[in-house]
Symmetry: C2
C-alpha cells in the first residue's frame, strides 16, 4: 500500500503539514520544516478526528517543542470517514462498534500500512512512538501490542473494560509507557484506568494523574508526553 | 534561633556539604560549590535520617542535576536524635507518636527556624520548596500548609489516615504539588494516597504513580521531582 499526497504541503511556524491517503485511510503528517525527526503515530479520541483543533494543536506542539514528526489518520467512521449510510443510535453504540474485534483488526492493519508508507517520506527517521488517549488507547493498546516498530507509547483516559481480549493485548504491550489519568473523569472511573495501567506488560511504565474531567488534561502533561516520546526515540 | 556550623564544609563532585544545628535540630546543607541556588527543605522518611544514603543521594542529585540547594534536619527521635531513654515498642508506635499534634507542631516550628537560618547563608536564594515522602509527607503537609515561604512541594507515599486535622492541613496546601504514589505500596494502599492527593487545596497538582513497593520509587521520578522544584523556584 503506497502513500498518496492529497494536497499541497503548507508550512506555518516551522511546521509542515501534508495530507495523504494510505488505502482507505485519510491522514495528515506534521513535520519540522527542516531536518529529520522521529515519528509519532497519533490516535485521536472517539467522535474526534485528525482535523480536530486539539489534535492538531498536540501534533504541532510535538513538532515545535520536541522535534518530532506526527502522523494521524481518521479512524473508521470518524472525520472524513463518517458515512451518511451508516448510523449508530448513539455514541455508546459507535464506541462499542469501535471496540469490536473486526474494527480493531482493521485499525491495526491501517496503522501498519500508514507506518510503512510514512517511513518512506524524506526526513522521517525510523524511530516510532504512539500517542493516543481515550479511544486512542482503546485502539492503541492492540496497535502498540501488534506493531513491533513502536518503541514507546503514551496511553490513557481509558479503563479495563475489554475483558480477556483487552487484557491479552495489554500484556503484550512491553515498551516504555506513560499513562494519563484524569481523577474526575466522568467517562472513565480512575480506578478502572489504573487497572488497565496495571495490565500493561511494560516493566518501564509510569502513570500521571490530574484533577479534572475527561477532556481537561493540562497542557503541561501534553508537554511531558512529548518529552517522554522524544527521549525514548532519540537514544 | 541562629545556625551553628558543627563541622567543616566538604566539597565532592561540585557539591558542598555542611553540617549545622538550629536549636535542637541537627541538619545538613548541600549546595552547589559555586553560585547561588534556590532552597529545598528535605523531610526524610520514618526510621530514616538526613544521613541515610538514599536521602544524601537525593540531595546531591538535586544540587548536581537541578542547581538547587537542599537542607535536611533529623526529625525528633530520628538520626542523631534517637534517644536511648525513649523507647517505642515498635515502628507503628513511633509513627503514631510522630503524627501527634504535639510532634507536628514541634516539627513545623523546627522547619521554620531552620528556614530562617539557612536563608541567611551566602549563596542561598530566597526561593523555597519542600520535598518529603512517606513520613516526610505526614509531617510535610502541615509544614507546607504552615510556612508561607514554601512555593512548591513534592509529597507522596502517604495516605488519608489523619482524619479531620490532616484534611484541614491538606486543604491549606495551595502551592503547586507533585505527588508520588507506588501502586504496589505495602504500607500505603494507593487508594488512600490518591485520597490524600485529592484533599490538597492546590489547584496546580499532579500525581505520578509507578509499579513497585514503598521504597522502590524510580530514579527517573526523583529527577522529575527535581526538575519540577527547579522550574517553580526559578521563574
Amino acid at each position: 500500500v503506497s502513500l498518496d499526497w492529497t494536497a499541497d504541503a503548507v508550512t506555518a511556524k516551522a511546521v509542515t503539514e501534508r495530507h495523504f491517503r494510505v488505502g482507505d485511510a485519510p491522514g495528515t503528517l506534521w513535520s519540522p520544516e527542516r531536518g529529520e525527526a522521529p515519528l509519532v503515530l497519533l490516535g485521536h479520541g472517539g467522535t474526534s478526528s485528525r482535523a480536530e483543533p486539539s489534535v492538531v494543536a498536540t501534533a504541532r506542539r510535538f513538532v515545535r517543542h520536541h522535534g518530532l514528526a506526527v502522523a494521524a489518520i481518521d479512524a473508521p467512521f470518524h472525520g472524513e470517514r463518517r458515512r451518511r449510510e451508516v448510523r449508530f443510535p448513539d455514541v455508546q453504540a459507535l464506541m462499542r462498534h469501535m471496540g469490536s474485534a473486526e474494527l480493531i483488526e482493521q485499525v491495526v492493519s491501517e496503522w501498519r500500512a500508514t507506518l510503512d508508507a510514512v517511513l518512506d517520506v524524506d526526513g522521517i527517521l525510523p524511530r516510532v512512538g504512539y500517542w493516543g488517549l481515550s479511544m486512542g488507547t482503546h485502539l492503541g493498546v492492540p496497535t502498540v501490542a501488534g506493531e513491533p516498530g513502536i518503541e514507546a507509547a503514551v496511553l490513557g483516559l481509558f479503563g479495563a473494560i475489554g475483558g480477556a481480549r483487552q487484557a491479552a493485548a495489554a500484556a503484550e504491550v512491553t515498551v516504555p509507557v506513560m499513562f494519563v489519568v484524569q481523577l474526575d473523569d466522568e467517562l472513565v472511573p480512575h480506578g478502572s484506568a489504573i487497572e488497565l495501567f496495571q495490565l500493561l506488560g511494560s516493566k518501564d511504565k509510569r502513570l500521571h494523574a490530574h484533577p479534572g474531567r475527561h477532556t481537561e488534561v493540562p497542557l503541561d502533561e501534553i508537554e511531558d508526553n512529548g518529552a517522554f516520546l522524544k527521549r525514548h526515540l532519540s537514544t
